[in-house]
C-alpha cells in the first residue's frame, strides 16, 4: 500500500516543531507500524535526510517503550495493542496517517516522536514498591494466603507497562490510570499493607507535582490502554487516598 504520513518533526526540546508530510510506497499490510516507520527512515537516510526519532525496544508489546499518537489515538486505531503490535492492515491504501508524539506537559518532547516519560519513574520511586527483608529469613510469598479474586485483580493491575497511553489519550493528561494500577497492585495484597498509607499519599503527591491533570472519568484511558487496565483501579486509588488522608 502507498501512504501519506504527516509526522511531527522537532529537532530538540527547545525547537518549536511542525508537521511534515512524507510519502511511503509498497508497504506490506503484514508489517507492524514500527516496521513501516523503519521503511520511512531507511528512505530518509538514503536521501541524506534526518530519520524520524521514535521510541521502541522489545517490539513484542510488553516493554511499554513505543508510543506515538496515530490518527488521533494513542497507539493508533487498534485496541489492546502497543504501536509495535499495530499492523498496517488496520489502514487502507492511499490513507493519510497523522503521527504525533504523546502530548502532556509532564511528557515533554525530546525529539520528533520521543517524549520524556521519566515523570512515571519518579512517581514509582515515591512509593511504587514494597520493602522486603532480604537477610535470609524472608517469608515465601506463596506461603501467605491470598484470596483468588484479590490475587487476580492485583495481577491485572500489575500488567500495566507504564507506556503512558492513558496520559496521552486523556484530555486532561491525567496519570491516574497508571498511578491507580501501581497503587492497586500493592493495596490488594498483604505484602503491600505495611506501607499502604505512605505509598498512596507519596505517589499522588508526586503525580500532582509532575503536572499531570485531574481525572474527569471520561474513561478514554481504559479504552486506549494496551493492557486493559480497568477504571476500577482509579476508584481504588481514590478510596485508598481518602483513607490514608484521614489517617495521616
Amino acid at each position: 500500500m502507498n501512504l501519506t504520513l504527516k509526522i511531527w518533526r522537532q529537532k530538540d526540546a527547545n525547537d518549536k516543531g511542525q508537521m511534515v508530510d512524507y510519502k511511503v510506497t509498497d508497504i506490506s499490510e503484514h508489517m507492524s507500524f514500527l516496521e513501516m516507520m523503519d521503511v520511512l527512515n531507511e528512505q530518509l537516510v538514503n536521501s541524506g535526510d534526518e530519520p524520524v526519532a521514535f521510541d521502541h525496544d522489545c517490539r513484542e508489546g510488553i516493554c511499554g517503550m513505543c508510543s506515538m499518537y496515530i490518527n488521533g489515538e494513542a497507539h493508533g486505531p487498534d485496541r489492546g495493542v502497543t504501536t509495535c503490535q499495530l499492523h498496517m492492515r488496520m489502514f487502507n491504501d492511499g490513507d493519510t496517517i497523522t503521527i504525533e508524539p504523546f502530548r502532556a506537559t509532564a511528557f515533554p518532547v525530546i525529539k520528533d516522536l520521543v517524549v520524556d516519560r521519566t515523570s512515571f519513574e519518579r512517581i514509582q520511586q515515591a512509593g511504587g514498591f514494597i520493602s522486603v527483608n532480604t537477610s535470609g529469613n524472608t517469608q515465601d510469598a506463596n506461603a501467605i494466603p491470598i484470596a483468588k479474586e484479590a490475587a487476580d485483580k492485583a495481577m491485572d493491575a500489575a500488567t500495566c507497562i507504564g507506556c503512558g497511553a492513558c496520559v496521552a489519550t486523556c484530555k486532561n493528561s491525567s496519570a491516574m490510570l497508571f498511578v491507580g494500577a501501581k497503587v492497586s497492585q500493592y493495596a490488594l495484597l498483604p505484602q503491600g499493607q505495611v506501607e499502604a498509607t505512605d505509598r498512596v499519599l507519596n505517589m499522588v503527591k508526586q503525580m500532582d507535582e509532575e503536572g499531570f491533570g485531574n481525572c474527569t472519568n471520561t474513561g478514554a484511558c481504559e479504552i486506549e490502554c494496551p493492557k486493559g487496565i480497568s477504571l476500577e483501579n482509579i476508584a481504588r486509588m481514590n478510596s485508598e487516598f481518602m483513607k490514608a488522608s484521614l489517617k495521616g
Partner: protein, 227 residues
Amino acid sequence: MSGLLKSSIGRKFAMALSAFFLMFFLLQHFVINLTSIFPDHGATFNQLSHFMGTNPMVQYVMQPILIFGVVFHFVMGFVLEVKNRNAQKVKYAKNNGAANSTWMSRNMIWSGLAILAFIVLHFIDFWFPEINTKFIQGDWSGLHDGEFRYFHELQQKFHNPVRVGAYIGAFAFLAMHLLHGFSSAFQSMGANNKYTNGLKTFGKLYAILIPVGFMLIALVHYFNNPH
C-alpha cells in the same frame, strides 16, 4: 487531612460530594415543582412553596448551604478545568476523542456553563424577586390580593415562549451534565464495584427522567396559560 483540597484526588472528591448534594437538591426541587401540575389549581404547590419560603431552617440554614454548594461546585469546576488545560499545553493536530469517550464526558465544562447561565436566568426570574419581597420589603405573608402568590407567579413566568424555550434548552444541558456526572461522582468517591453497573443504569434514568420532567412541567404551564 491538611491540604486535602490541594491534592488532585481531594478536589475530585469534593467535586463529587458537592455534586451529590446538588443532585439531592434537584430531586427535592423536582418533587415540589411536580405538585404545580396537580389538578388542584396550585393549592399543594402554594402550601409547599410557602413552607420552603418561610421556614427558618430552610431559609437560614439550608439555603446558605445550597448557595455555598452551587458556588463551590462551579468554582472548583473552573479551577480543575484551568489545571487540566495547563496539563496539556500543546494540543494534538488530530485527536479522535469520540473513539474512546462520550461527548458528555469531554464537555462537562460547557454543559456546566450552560447550566450556570440558566441559574442566572432562574435567579432573575424567581430567586431575586423572592429575596426582594421577603428580605428588603419585609413581606413574609406569601400573599397577593389575599391569595398565595407562588402558583400565580409561576404561571406568569411560563407565559413567554422564549423563556420556556430557554428553560427546555437548559434542561437538555442538565441531562447531558448528569448523564456523565452521576456515575462519575461515584467513581471519584472510590466506588467502583459490583453495584457499579446498577448505579450507572440508575444514574442514566435519573439524568433523563428529572430534566425531562422539568421540561414537561414548563410545557404544561405554557400550554395551560391562556395566550
